[in-house]
């Protein structure tokens, strides 16, 4: 089982993703350079967090056109698993591998803090080690995390169970106060209709070590392994 972690100019959480999959999971990983066309045999592609191309035009807009993204798109279209975290989520939306868009936080400020997530769909290859409704403590760190989509798109997502994570309060309730960025319906993470491409704004790769406060993010990575083993 091999993870491929894509490095765009401006990516900065590649090391965090690397540590998450090679550390507690003991999986192998390779870094994939944005100018290359080679996925180096990676089974799962991670688009990690950061500010690809400075996010100067729109978050993720320019990275989408990198040479490596042609391969990532082909991999995804062939049913290969892809997970985009934070900037990676933004890139997946820009690349139309996921529906919707991520806009400037409603507060117009960057938000770095732990949030509580509720697992909305535990029946995916990225969440099968969680229980539906389970609450997770995971940090966020972003300025452009407000998920937006039109009404039809939203209904389609909801109907097909494609909303995977929502921001909730400590009691598991969807409230405005628990929404750190103004996302539509408190959406924090979604999956594509095919079930092989997931994007989320929070950072599970920074919640893998009790010393750093939470291990709740680990489940995403162990779910991927469990899915492959199954």
């Amino acid at each position: 089982m091999k993870f491929g972690i894509v490095l765009f100019p401006g990516t900065n959480r590649d090391g965090d993703a690397w540590d998450a999959v090679t550390g507690p999971l003991g999986a192998s990983a390779v870094r994939l350079w944005h100018k290359d066309h080679d996925l180096q045999g990676a089974d799962v592609i991670i688009l990690p967090g950061g500010f690809s191309y400075g996010d100067y035009l729109r978050a993720g807009a320019i990275a989408r056109f990198s040479p490596i993204m042609q391969e990532v798109v082909a991999h995804a279209r062939a049913g290969g698993p892809v997970i985009g975290i934070c900037n990676g989520f933004q890139i997946l939306c820009e690349a139309h591998l996921l529906p919707g868009a991520l806009l400037r936080n409603a507060s117009l400020q960057f938000r770095s803090m732990p949030v509580t997530l509720r697992v909305e769909n535990a029946n995916t290859r990225f969440t099968n080690q969680y229980k539906a409704g389970q609450l997770l403590r995971v940090p966020i760190a972003h300025g452009d995390g407000r998920f937006a989509i039109d009404a039809d798109g939203l209904r389609a997502l909801e109907d097909a169970g494609q909303v995977v994570f929502r921001y909730v309060d400590r009691n598991g309730q969807v409230t405005d106060a628990a929404n750190p960025n103004g996302s539509l319906d408190n959406i924090a993470g979604i999956i594509n209709a095919g079930g092989n491409v997931m994007g989320l704004m929070p950072h599970p790769e920074n919640a893998i070590d009790p010393l750093l406060g939470s291990t709740d993010g680990l489940g995403i990575f162990t779910s991927i392994l469990a899915h492959v083993a199954a």
Binding site: G10, N12, R13, D16, G54, F110
Partner: protein, 766 residues
């Protein structure tokens, strides 16, 4: 040979010399050095190099008195950053720097480029940046202009560090009217390197090419260094176009490219083009290497056509580096830069002839003998005399100030103090900083007295903090200088780390005024005393003078940035009470001191009295006791008593974890001090710890002769707070205190951050 004027250069007149901030004496010195009339380009070069910012002409003799050596110091002052060894072949590079004046004019870009500059100082040592800190001073948040400054500075710091992907892990923010017209923005960066990768900014090897790397040179910030050496005034407002715009994305690429260059072996030296740009970087590299250098300005990649040598040399465009490569390795250097989509151009050469020469094509436009343009810089020994106003304020009998009627309820007073922006929670600020990126932040902002950052691949961690109480320094500079270091050491030791070394940023007024130079000399002296006593040498720093706005100087603010080392990261502790039933123990003892306190300032509007005594021997003992107790696993939380005294320290420990504020109860009736000194006095050398085993903690303290007292017990989440003071018992809800602490700054910042006489946008409109 010798330089000749370019066609169109203005004549060198006394007015032009004065415009460049050079005195008549300094100009005469320049003429004597050259043996002829300087060209305009040469006047520009000298005005930059002999500016206070680059030359330290008023501070050098005083700085020389600081302790700088220890076996673990690999690089002391004089390089881009200091470096200490942490064992296992690893080292930490760190440095703090001010960006006060640019931030006063354009808070967003000023603060952002401050972060950019300090990052470059660290990665040019061969270190990968792993943490950022910042130390901020503003006027009162009641002022719309101050809110505009705060919003812009915080956004600028956040946007830059967040984009580069370096966590901002700690800092401090103080609000006082003395900073109203002249905020302080100090940024610190900490990097990790292999000892074997340490590289110094020393030009070497005759024939080696000098290469400009990174962003292109534009017309921005020309004369920024001279600008940082003047008081803020109407005239400096008019210089606004000198503001530089930062590009953190390019910085991230430059960081990766520079580290790759350093490990590649293709280069011998690398230096940031910071203040005074190409001029100071090239001159300083040549001086350190004791070689000559030639630069051809027509080879420098520029952003705009028609730039003159003067502009190219003095531009402060950001995200640029100067590199000396090994001869014949130019293409390898270029290839590395290209990989990161950056440009590299050979612009000059290291030469044997002891000259610093600038050409425009084949024409020489500036030429100085040897390294004299750095070494011949004037040095001043200004007069130092303590101001009479300060003497009067210090001598004031603050104990005679009558209590206000409301003070009969100590929780009223505590509420006022907890909501004082200097003490109140800074979450509104640091939630805009990415503190988790890189995945090593064990204790982040707001969770402990110092940040704790793990060193991957080892069991170790470092603890980091900045500190300074400018009010103390103002009222008694020597004591204030000592306390700044001692408080930093306490904060670092509270996490379980041994204090290792400091960097410092000395923010003062105009050194030509005797009372300011007195503050400077004494504060630096106090800092040195404390560094010697605590075994934390000075590895570098920065001096920022002229922090004045018409009519007044800021509080003298020698900000200390400290690095401590923890051998076993899992032993580190935070500042919040964690467990109901734990005993609360005070290490150190209260005294009847009220002078210079936040209590006097917030409750009585008075800045007076002598600051608390600072017994350095006692501070050292306290550090030892903390480290033994934490090392023995006896301590579940530790938090030092600083602004607001014991009552504030207790309350902060109870609600530092905003999600789970805890009640507690303490009995202080054994202390016979006046209650306000007991609760709110700022006696030094004290730390509040919580422990399951108070007797063992008392024993560790007793073994070293440090007084310690069991005060009470930690309660449950949401339970009440009780103080027994003398014969009276006072209780209140933790929610009341938590509201005062957590809501104060958000409520103030919710008001609009611009006033009608401010002609600039809030960061929020961009």
């Amino acid at each position: 040979m010798g330089a000749t004027p370019r066609p169109g250069d203005p004549a060198i007149t006394p007015a032009l010399v004065a415009d460049h901030g050079l005195t008549a004496d300094e100009y005469d010195r320049l003429v004597a050095m050259l043996g002829r009339t300087p060209t305009l380009t040469e006047v520009g070069i000298i005005s930059a190099l002999w500016s206070e910012h680059c030359s330290y002409k008023h501070s050098r003799p005083v700085l020389r008195t600081l302790p700088t050596k220890a076996p673990h110091v690999l690089q002391g002052p004089g390089e881009n950053a200091g470096v200490i060894s942490i064992g296992d072949g690893l080292a930490i590079a760190f440095k703090i720097e001010s960006h006060n004046h640019p931030s006063a004019v354009e808070p967003y870009q000023g603060a952002a480029t401050g972060v950019g500059g300090i990052l470059r100082d660290v990665f040019t040592m061969g270190a990968r940046p792993i943490a950022l800190l910042n130390s901020l001073r503003f006027g009162s948040l009641e002022s719309p202009r101050v809110r505009w400054l705060v919003a812009g500075v915080v956004k600028g710091i956040g946007d830059y560090g967040n984009c580069v992907g370096i966590p901002t892990v700690a800092g401090e923010v103080v609000f006082d009217p003395s900073y109203e017209g002249n905020p302080l923005v100090n940024a610190m960066c900490v990097g990790l390197l292999k000892e074997s990768d340490l590289i110094r900014a020393k030009a070497q090897g005759v024939g080696n090419p000098v290469i400009a790397v990174g962003a292109r040179t534009g017309r921005d910030g020309i004369h920024g260094a001279a600008f940082a050496s003047e008081d803020l005034s109407e005239a400096s407002e008019a210089k606004r176009p000198q503001v530089q715009v930062g590009d953190p994305f390019t910085e991230k690429l430059l960081l990766e490219a520079s580290l790759e260059l350093i490990t590649s072996g293709h280069i011998v030296a690398i230096q940031d083009m910071g203040a005074a740009g190409l001029t100071s970087s090239s001159a300083e590299m040549a001086e350190r290497g004791d070689v000559g250098v030639t630069i051809d300005t027509t080879k420098v990649p520029v952003r705009e056509p028609g730039m003159t040598p003067y502009e190219i040399l003095l531009s402060e465009s950001q995200e640029r580096m100067l590199v000396v490569a090994r001869r014949g390795h130019e293409n390898e250097v270029r290839a590395i830069l290209e990989k990161w989509d950056l440009v590299a151009e050979v612009i000059g050469e290291v030469i044997a002839e002891p000259v610093y020469r600038v050409t425009e094509g084949s024409k020489v436009v500036a030429e100085f003998p040897g390294s004299r343009l750095v070494t011949d810089c004037p040095v001043y020994h200004p007069e130092a005399r303590e101001g009479e106003e300060v003497q009067r304020l210090r001598a004031m009998d603050v104990h005679a100030i009558a209590e206000r009627p409301e003070e009969s309820d100590p929780f009223w007073t505590l509420e006022q103090l907890l909501s004082s922006p200097t003490i109140a929670s800074k979450t509104w600020i640091h939630r805009q900083y990415d503190s988790t990126v890189r995945g090593q932040t064990v204790v982040g902002p707001g969770h402990g007295d110092a940040a704790v950052v793990r060193i991957p691949g080892t069991t170790k961690a470092i603890a980091l903090k900045t500190d300074c109480n400018g009010r103390y320094v103002y009222l008694e500079p020597r004591t204030g200088g000592r306390i700044a270091v001692a408080e930093c050491a306490r904060n670092v030791a509270c996490t379980g780390a041994r204090p290792m070394a400091i960097t410092n940023c000395l923010n003062f007024g105009n050194p030509k005024r005797p009372e300011i130079f007195f503050q400077f000399r004494e504060a630096v002296g106090g800092m040195g005393d404390a560094c010697t006593a605590l075994g934390t040498p000075v590895t570098g720093g920065n001096v920022s003078f002229y922090n004045e706005s018409p009519g007044r100087a800021v509080f003298p603010t020698p900000t200390i940035g400290m690095v401590g080392l923890i051998d076993h990261v899992e032993q580190s502790v935070g500042g919040a009470f964690t467990t109901s039933g734990d005993a609360i123990v005070l290490l150190g003892e209260p005294t009847d001191e009220l002078g210079a306190s936040e209590y006097l300032s917030r409750i009585h509007g008075v800045t007076a009295g002598a600051p608390p005594r600072c017994d350095l021997e006692r501070e050292r003992l306290l550090v030892d006791v903390l480290l033994s107790a934490i090392g023995a696993g006896l301590v579940r939380s530790a938090h030092d008593c600083s602004d607001g005294g014991l009552a504030v320290a207790l309350a902060e420990s109870a609600m530092m974890n905003a999600d789970a504020p805890r009640g507690f109860s303490v009995d202080l009736s054994a202390f016979t001090l006046p209650s306000r000194a007991l609760l709110f006095g700022e006696a030094q050398g004290r730390v509040v710890v919580s422990t399951p085993d108070p007797q063992a903690v008392l024993q560790v303290a007793a073994q070293r002769g440090l007084p310690a007292f069991v005060l009470g017990t930690v309660g449950g989440i949401g339970e009440d707070v009780a103080f027994q003071v003398g014969s009276k018992r006072h209780t209140t809800s933790i929610a009341r205190l938590a509201t005062a602490f957590h809501d104060s700054i958000p409520n103030l910042m919710a008001r609009v951050a611009v006033s009608s006489d401010d002609a600039a946008p809030a960061g929020s409109t961009r």
